[in-house]
């Protein structure tokens, strides 16, 4: 099964890129590919100009501390048997950074940085709430001062009141530390206030890519439009006419030929089944993969 297919993208230093798609769209696999947790079957990832393919062990280790990941599930992502401080210090121990005392100080600083208390280091994960655990996960990822952070659905498992806290925290940290961020989410609205640019994925392929505001203001791809219109809105006046997608999402193991979205697309034509649409420039800054773009957008 191909989870991610023929995806090309670039993230500028210090940029926040959002990746949006439903479950099974390959967005998590994409995140893991970018930091080398999953090896690509074809293609390559260049990090700071350096290829991740066939990298020797020592070089890998050096790169490792520069790229980190924050996971979705605040319960499964922390080792239940080890104290929080020890887990945050892991990166420092593995990469042999600092003395014992310095590590301790760093852990305390990190905990404060993510809005917890330094003496929380002595506690176990189960003593924290979901939001606090997500903060700990962020502190762990930041321990070795990475340049690139993949946040894989970091707020999906949290209550809405806590979601906003964590979003604000990530946004603040990114600006303060100059992090490059890949923010993966199934919810376009979550991405909106954190990311400069956004990629919309469907069944392993990029459907649309562009500056976040542009994608929100004038979504071009039929899938992006359906996604935006389907999100329930609080304010009735903002509610747009809902574009109901026909049928069920196809299995990622057997994606449709041609355009992968065509089976549910209200605008699909016979030729959509034959040609895989390229990502083409649309307006000045967005790229969209749709054969009928000129007619429907």
């Amino acid at each position: 099964m191909q989870a991610v297919r023929e995806v090309s993208l670039a993230i500028a230093r210090g940029e926040a890129l959002g990746v949006v798609g439903k479950s099974g769209s390959g967005k998590s696999t994409l995140g893991r590919l970018l930091i080398g947790l999953v090896a690509p079957s074809a293609g390559d990832v260049l990090f700071d100009g350096q290829s991740l393919r066939g990298l020797a062990r020592p070089a890998w280790r050096a790169l490792r501390r520069r790229m980190q990941i924050v996971f979705q599930d605040p319960y499964g992502s922390l080792d239940p048997r080890r104290r929080v401080g020890a887990q945050i210090a892991d990166a420092l121990v593995i990469h042999d950074i600092g003395t014992m005392a310095e590590r301790k100080r760093r852990v305390a600083d990190l905990l404060r940085e993510v809005g917890l208390e330094p003496d929380h280091a002595r506690r176990f994960p189960h003593e924290f709430s979901g939001g606090q655990r997500q903060r700990i996960g962020i502190a762990r990822a930041l321990a070795a001062s990475p340049d690139f952070l993949v946040a894989d659905e970091p707020v999906s498992a949290l209550d809405v009141s806590v979601q906003a806290q964590i979003l604000a925290l990530l946004d603040g940290l990114r600006r303060r530390l100059g992090l490059t961020l890949l923010f993966i989410s199934h919810d376009l609205h979550v991405v909106r206030h954190v990311c400069d640019r956004v990629i919309v994925m469907y069944l392993g392929r990029i459907m649309e890519e562009g500056p976040t505001e542009a994608v929100f203001a004038s979504p071009a791809h039929p899938y992006t439009r359906a996604l935006l219109s389907a999100t329930p809105r609080l304010d009735p006046s903002r509610r747009t006419r809902r574009i109901l997608l026909a049928g069920e999402p196809p299995s990622p193991a057997a994606p449709p030929s041609g355009c992968v979205f065509r089976t549910r697309c209200p605008h699909a034509l016979p030729r959509c089944a034959e040609v895989v649409p390229d990502l083409i420039e649309w307006s000045s800054r967005a790229r969209v993969a749709c054969l009928r773009l000129g007619e429907i957008a």
Binding site: D159, L167, A168, P232, L234, R238
Partner: protein, 610 residues
């Protein structure tokens, strides 16, 4: 810690006594005294003498050395080697997996006695041979247990996280994986030690283990058997020693397992449900279909009883959609479970009533309630995969629900199932009715669940987070389906959700819960446009939508055992004043709504003037 101390002391006592055998002033355990053959207890031999006139107490203590050495050594060797093989097999897969697991399968193919005979023939009987045989016999168990645990541990994000940090396989295995798989291995160890003592006895009994006249518990049982009729007590002593040792080992390993797991809170104490509720005369309600009054759910915990749902009241009219919203821990799901009579065993209803058409659901006996569930009262859960039986066709599962409440011929049921599938928007209903759950997508499975729920035309449908597990485009379809069904059938819908957008879309009225209490209740439009309770307001501000940045609520929901004395939201409330922190506010009517806040009017004025 205290829990480990007692069993540890017991095991230590057994080991110490065995170790101390040479310094204890015991008679020689192999010294025979035929004259005092089978003598009863006396001053110099408190447990009597055996069939060769040897001192039983002395043999028991010296025998413990042989038995325990064999048991601990063999179980220990099997544990260390097995855990290593399991770790390697589970982590590296491929060749390591093949070697570690297949070799164990080969061992498992040998009958244990055959294996023992083989090794004894090759090496001759004796303690060291016995240790080897037993270690080989126990090895597959440890490999299998460790392997399975490693497989499940490696799928956890925290293992992935240390990998992302750049840890090598050795560090991951020893620091991260091993502590997390230690529990089951420890249990296996206790079982192995216990089994080894028994097997040592058995094999020695067959003459394959410890060589006489050297004492062991197994040999003692073997010897005592021949004189069972004359001196039955001789059989008792080694058996008592054996039982005591095994019991102590089991206790120790259980305690160790709990101890290495920092999460283990002592289990919730189960209590006989004392459901003698204060007898209220059931009242006849004319407007409300469901009327929940003062519902309080209590759960006993080691640190005292907690009330995750307290004094919750709301009503649902026929054909109405009422949403219950709140963060996790607000008690919304437990409220629904209480109404359905599906509370977890540790929870009980402490007070309150839930009238469905005037009948108090909370005081019905289980069989009456079962008749109601699935007919007048139905429920849809969050996770359609785990709510459907994976080995039955979906159509049959829906048919079962129909047949549970109505006696109909098969063909009629089949027609009805297909009609239901069509009503919930499943394409090709004839085909889909024969499909298994795994052949359907998440959205389709949720449709099947809804078909089951509406199969017997319920008056009330409770949906607990019905769309949380689905992606937004499918969520929109399911919400439209529920709204449509409600219009067609006139059933009432109680929707439990944390998604305020969903509430705004389909609910007529909304009940906002916080920390087990209702804080605000009213028409959805009015509540969302002009929230009266600061919590409702904060919740709405936290939703990411529109141009404003979402604002989080500082702090977290207080745990049920440490509720603040005053208003439960006060510690997180930007508008809290001194009176809020001292006395709990009561729920009161205000402007056609109910709200639990003493400052509601002041805040409304404030926001109106702002």
């Amino acid at each position: 810690m205290r829990k480990v101390a007692v069993p540890a002391a017991l095991v230590a006592a057994v080991i110490l006594v065995a170790l101390a055998a040479p310094v204890l002033d015991l008679p020689d355990p192999v010294q025979q005294d035929i004259a005092r053959r089978l003598a009863g207890p006396s001053a110099d031999s408190p447990l009597g003498r055996d069939e060769f006139g040897r001192d039983v107490l002395s043999r028991l203590i010296w025998g413990a050395r042989a038995s325990l050495t064999v048991a601990f050594a063999s179980a220990g060797i099997a544990c260390v080697v097995g855990a290593l093989l399991g770790l390697v097999g589970g982590w590296f897969r491929g060749l390591g997996e093949l070697l570690a697991l297949r070799s164990m399968d080969v061992v498992l193919c040998f009958p244990p006695i055959l294996l023992a005979l083989l090794v004894v023939t090759l090496l001759g009987p004796g303690s060291s041979t016995l240790i080897l045989v037993l270690a080989i016999l126990f090895l597959p168990g440890f490999v299998r247990v460790t392997y399975a645990e490693v497989l499940s541990a490696r799928s956890h994000d925290y293992v992935e996280a240390v990998r992302a940090l750049g840890a090598g396989p050795l560090r991951i295995l020893l620091v991260t994986v091993l502590p997390n798989v230690a529990g089951p291995i420890l249990v296996q160890l206790s079982l192995a030690v216990a089994a080894a003592v028994v097997l040592e006895s058995g094999l020695s009994f067959l003459g394959l283990g410890v060589v006489p006249p050297e004492p062991s518990w197994g040999l003692m049982i073997r010897g005592a058997r021949s004189t069972m009729a004359q001196a039955p007590l001789l059989l008792l002593w080694p058996c008592v020693a054996l039982t005591f040792t095994i019991l102590a080992m089991n206790l120790l390993c259980d305690a160790l397992r709990d101890w290495v797991d920092p999460r283990t809170a002592s289990a919730v104490r189960l209590r006989a449900v004392d459901r003698v509720l204060p007898g209220l005369v059931p009242r006849r309600r004319n407007d409300a279909l469901l009327e929940v009054e003062g519902l309080t759910v209590e759960i006993d915990t080691p640190s005292g009883a907690i009330r995750p749902v307290q004094d919750v009241s709301f009503s649902v009219r026929a054909g109405e959609t009422v949403a219950i919203v709140g963060e996790s821990g607000s008690g919304k799901s437990l409220t629904a479970a209480a109404v359905m009579g599906l509370l977890p065993p540790a929870a009980r209803i402490q007070a309150g009533a839930a009238y469905l058409d005037g009948t108090d659901l909370l005081r019905l006996d289980e069989s009456t309630l079962r008749r109601l569930r699935g007919s007048a009262l139905a429920m849809v859960f969050q996770d359609p995969m785990s709510s459907l039986n994976p080995v039955h066709r979906t159509g049959d599962q829906v048919a079962e629900v129909i047949l549970a409440h109505r006696r109909l011929p098969r063909a009629v049921v089949r027609r009805e199932v297909i009609d239901l599938f069509r009503r919930v928007g499943i394409a090709d209903p004839e085909l889909r009715a024969d499909a298994f759950p795994h052949e359907m997508s998440g959205g389709m499975r949720q449709r099947v669940m809804i078909a089951m729920a509406i199969a017997n035309n319920p008056r009330l449908l409770i949906a607990d987070e019905p769309t949380t597990a689905l992606d937004v485009t499918v969520q929109a379809q399911i919400l439209d389906l529920l709204a449509g069904l409600r219009r067609q059938t006139g059933m009432a819908l109680v929707l439990i959700t944390h998604n305020l957008g969903v509430v705004a879309e389909i609910a007529d009225r909304v009940v906002v819960m916080y920390a087990g209490q209702v804080v605000e209740q009213g028409e959805t439009k009015a509540v969302f446009a002009r929230p009266m309770h600061p919590y409702t307001r904060a919740l709405l501000a936290a939703v990411p939508e529109g141009d404003e940045k979402p604002v989080g609520i500082p702090g977290t929901v207080p745990p049920p055992h440490a509720m603040p004395p005053g208003c439960r939201f006060a510690p997180r409330c930007p508008h809290a004043e001194e009176p809020c922190r001292t006395a709990p506010p009561v729920l009161r009517a205000l402007d056609g709504r109910v709200v639990r806040c003493i400052r509601a009017e002041a805040l409304l004025e404030q926001s109106a003037s702002a």
